[in-house]
């Protein structure tokens, strides 16, 4: 196995250009499980945790190498709460937002926040740079538009981010769980509301009809909140698996979205 440990972004991009099929290693929290349980034996590994450009967090740009531990202490309450629910302190000190994007699990905990904001994913290769909206980047469960030779550089958030934001997830215990349902709700002062849910579809789900309906309600009545929850439940597309049933996930999606909305009203 060949290992490259670049110390600058240009070195990292030279490495990915020379080895376009290389395995990219950041926190290792997904990759090393594949090594242990799926006998993954990469021919070339590029370890990117020493690349300072990927550690940058400058306002609306969050570098791919920013760990959940840092996100927990950051200025965005919903993202901080999402980060706090990831794994354990050991996992959060290693795992990164770039890894969450690259793995593209439907249960990725940082993804509902990024989806609710229509964040962009910045990609670089030695030859080019491009920005894809989150739903152009994540194309399916554990599938992305990342091309050989490209690196995830980070996520770019829009300028307007409301203070009223919340995240929660449902699991069998508070720590160390993969979400059965996760949800992020953002609400602007003019009533505009964005909702994104994880683990209830092949990728993060934006329940557009529910968003549109509740965004026109400046002071939602109990009946309006009921209708909002009903629409959220109608718009998710969950499956049965070993963690939960589709029926539970559908019900819980509406309950969770409504509860979070009530917290930020």
């Amino acid at each position: 196995m060949e290992t490259l440990l670049p110390r600058h972004l240009d070195e990292a991009l030279a490495a990915t250009a020379a080895h376009p099929e290389a395995t990219i290693l950041a926190g290792g929290t997904d990759l090393m499980v594949a090594v242990a349980y799926q006998a993954l034996r990469p021919a070339v590994v590029i370890g990117i945790r020493r690349v300072p450009e990927l550690q940058e967090w400058d306002g609306r740009f969050i570098g791919a190498g920013v760990t959940y531990s840092r996100l927990e202490r950051g200025p965005f309450a919903a993202l901080a709460q999402a980060a706090r629910t990831v794994g354990s302190p050991q996992i959060r000190s290693a795992g990164t937002i770039g890894g969450n994007l690259g793995t593209a699990s439907p249960a990725g905990d940082s993804l509902p926040f990024l989806a609710a904001l229509d964040a962009e994913v910045l990609l670089r290769s030695q030859a080019a740079e491009r920005a894809l909206r989150w739903d152009e980047f994540i194309t399916g469960p554990k599938r992305t538009a990342l091309q050989p030779g490209e690196l995830i550089v980070g996520a770019r958030l829009p300028e307007a981010i409301p203070d009223r934001q919340a995240f929660a997830k449902i699991g069998t215990r508070t720590a160390m769980v993969i979400a059965i349902v996760s949800c992020c709700v953002l609400r602007w002062d003019d009533g505009t509301t964005r909702v994104a849910l994880g683990s209830v579809g092949p990728t993060t789900v934006r329940p557009r009809a529910a968003e549109t309906m509740i965004s026109t309600e400046r002071r939602p009545s109990s009946a309006a909140l009921d209708e909002f929850a009903r629409l959220v439940s109608a718009e998710v597309s969950p499956i049965n698996d070993h963690r939960s049933t589709a029926a539970y996930r559908r019900h819980a999606s509406g309950v969770l979205a409504r509860r979070l909305l009530e917290r930020v009203l």
């Binding site: 090393m32 242990a36 370890g47 290693a94 160390m176």
Partner: protein, 151 residues
Amino acid sequence: MIRLTINGVPHVVDPMGPESLLTTLRDRLGLFGSKNACEQGECGSCSVLLDGRLVCSCLVMAVDADGAAVTTVEGIADGETLHRVQEAMVNAGGVQCGFCTPGIVVAASHLLATTPSPTETDIREALAGNICRCTGYGAIVRALEPLAAES
């Protein structure tokens, strides 16, 4: 070949392929304090400090630790003098079968180093990634709580 400083001692080792830092510590360097249980970051029994960060050594690719300073449970005591976390675990009966104890000791010592006066909630949250297969959590928390009060 990679260079590691483990508990203050420099080592040069040659990990095989993508082997974990845990494998390197146990199988190449004979440091058996870090335990191998789940190999997927769920149980915390392999917890070490990597350049001061608390991590599961089973999730660290050894070659990616090149140049790092690693503290394992063997490096927590000061010679023959136990760390106060170790002392507290012994005195309060925080050890049952002992398999999770090294990970608990590393995680708890890291907690006290970063949060001098943790609450019971802080302690439980800090140890959320350390599974005790004897389910002896009550005694472990009771062992650690007085340390929070004294610091």
